[in-house]
Amino acid sequence: MNQSNAQSKSAGRSLWADAWRQLRRNRLAMASFWIILLYLAMALYGEGVYWYFHWQDTTPPYQQTNLQEEYLRPSVFRHPFAADPGDDSSLLTDHHGSPAAPGLAARLRSGLRVLAHHPLGTDNLGRDVLQRTVQGARIAFQVGIITSCIAIPIGVFLGCLAGYFGGKTDDFIVWLYSTFSSIPGLLFIFAIAMVVGKGLLGVYLGIGLTTWVNLCRLMRGEVMKHKTRPYVQAARALGLGPFRIMFRHILPNIFHIIIITFSLRFPAAISTEVFMSFLGIGVQGEPSWGIMISNARLRLWQGVWWEMTFVTAAIFFVVLAFNLLGDALRDALDPRLRTSEH
């Protein structure tokens, strides 16, 4: 038993190392990987900001309306005539040879002070588009991760059971997923969200409870294939229980499917959340990308292009990065696909 474990482990390591090497060589995939990390950092920062102001019990800056600053155009540098009481203009010219050389911190502060408050502009209530976009990333990652935490365990568990036990169990699970898959996807999600009630919980449950089907089908097929492999037969001959064989022996060998599925369903979940929030059955009262789009949509016709553009760009890059990385992962982790793709 120990030996079989050790063997499967060492084989697994080499597969992962091999896949990692493949990924490293793929420049597009690495760029996507870094973009995703950047978004993740944004989402974590957004989460921190959210909780900070939640504990402080004050209105977070991304919700503060400021009617003097509505519809500010995006600009990297502060407007030259914008008054700033704390600004000491002499600091800006010190490199011309001012005798009183300021410290590094002061220089940095003055440098930052030139930068605009709202690099991506403001919306109709004077709220900062950049901060709201960051909060949108937070919601998007929450949705992607939580729905995965719902859908992937269901898919893996049912798929393993169906594939391993076969017979009546298999019939039941196949019936279950063919039923789920025959219900039109988006409508099913919306209907669940409607029944659960507007809000993030509806989004999580709607997406999570409907998107396990594909993974379940894949897992079932793979487990069925692995069930007849010698290592599983050996484990069975050693008297191991079915659940131990399924989850300790077979699952590590087909784990790459879960990773590929995760990276490919993530962008789909994000897009669905955008739809739902846009239609008003998603996030309530917090800035999500869908809500920003639905706000910006009408302003677009008045020539306020920036909110719309930056939000759609934010969505585009994260979805693109996930799609590219997912494809690269599939090529790297699934050797059969690697040989057939040329």
Binding site: T179, L187, L279, F316, N323
Partner: protein, 464 residues
Amino acid sequence: MYRYIIRRILQMIPTVFGVIVITFILFNIVGGSPATMTLGKNISPKALEEFDEQRGFNKPLLLGRWSATRAYQDTVFARNAGPWREIEGVVYVAGQRPEPGHIVMAPGKDYAVPLAFKLKKQTTYQWILKYRLISGTAVFRIIADDQPRGATGARPALPAAAEPEPQATVLPTNSAWQTIRIPFTVGSDPAVVKPTVSAAGGALEISALRLRRQNAHWFDSQFVFYLRQIARGDFGKSHYTNQRVAQMLKDGIMPSLALTVPIFLVELVVALSIALLCAFWRNSWLDRGIVVIAVALMSVNYLVWIIFGQYLLGYRWGFFPLWGFEAWSYLLLPVLIGVVSGLGATVRFYRTVMLDEMYRDYVRTALAKGVSRPGLLFRHVLKNAMIPILTNVVIAIPFLYAGSLLLEGFFGIPGLGNMGINALNYSDIDVVRAIVLIGSVLYVAANLMTDLCYALVDPRVRLE
């Protein structure tokens, strides 16, 4: 072959049943009665009850003889006296650990049970009463007696040994809490039913009171109601537009098809042509460029296509009419947007299918025998690739009926997608349920069609 067809149709039944069960679980069990959600909070219980009656929500879920009625909402006096608040002489006592919360009725008075509306004719009901009567007597009357009343409505206290009138139940004295069931039948005139409680000699304490209505039979449940509705092809009535859902579906399907069928066909032709180009010049810069563009197109959100497309092409540059459903030209822009938004994924799929075929042995053989490349592509590869392509096409057909959820709303096309979104916004359960159900059944049917086509083409399938 016939045996195969019959077997396949029989296999379809559990799936359709599954869909029915899932929609039932979703809308009836999880969702519960949408009456308060759709009608609002300040609606009389009678209107709510009628809403439920029409949709079968006042029945037990699966099986049962008795069901609750809104004429008298269950009261357990956990926090307050509930509907008894307004009745003079009733004192509320909050619960303290062993003692449940209850109301105390002082002796020597009649207390009319506060019913929200008249009960139904010719129906059997029962009261379930949990009470304590330490001393004295108490009577629960279903029909208030005809004796003339005083100005205040109070009658002199009953003598201790009042003989029970018809439909009156004497509550036995008991110092512990006990439950009693009082069944009664409403005659042809529901107006005379005025349940009253009266106590004499000692205070009556009530800790729970429930009213149950008897159903016609054990299977008179929501599920059976739903099944019968489906069997009749009746999908209920939209509470928002007040139209029959079947009629709404009939009205909405043509605009939806007018939008989705062109999208589907154009996209199919364009995507197949591009995929063939990719297969023909595989691994060239053209192929790689197309793949990158396809992934990029895929990553643009659907909303973005619609919003920017409508803004730029319709509003800014004025190439197309903006909004409405008056002439065929109104469909051009939505169709264009629909095609472009779906193109990325479709091209990628067909390209993979084509390339899978390109590396088969028979292709190599054909090449070795000197078949020209275009000939190979069109006569051999395309023909063999048709099986996965056809599967994809047939499976996509049922989704055409629902139209495009978002496109229709943006462009003012009165189709099923638009209807569905409105129904979601107004929590119009009957409409959403009908669209989900029909979509699923069509999908199952399309699956059956593909399998039958396979069986026609490939004899091996039949033997499986």
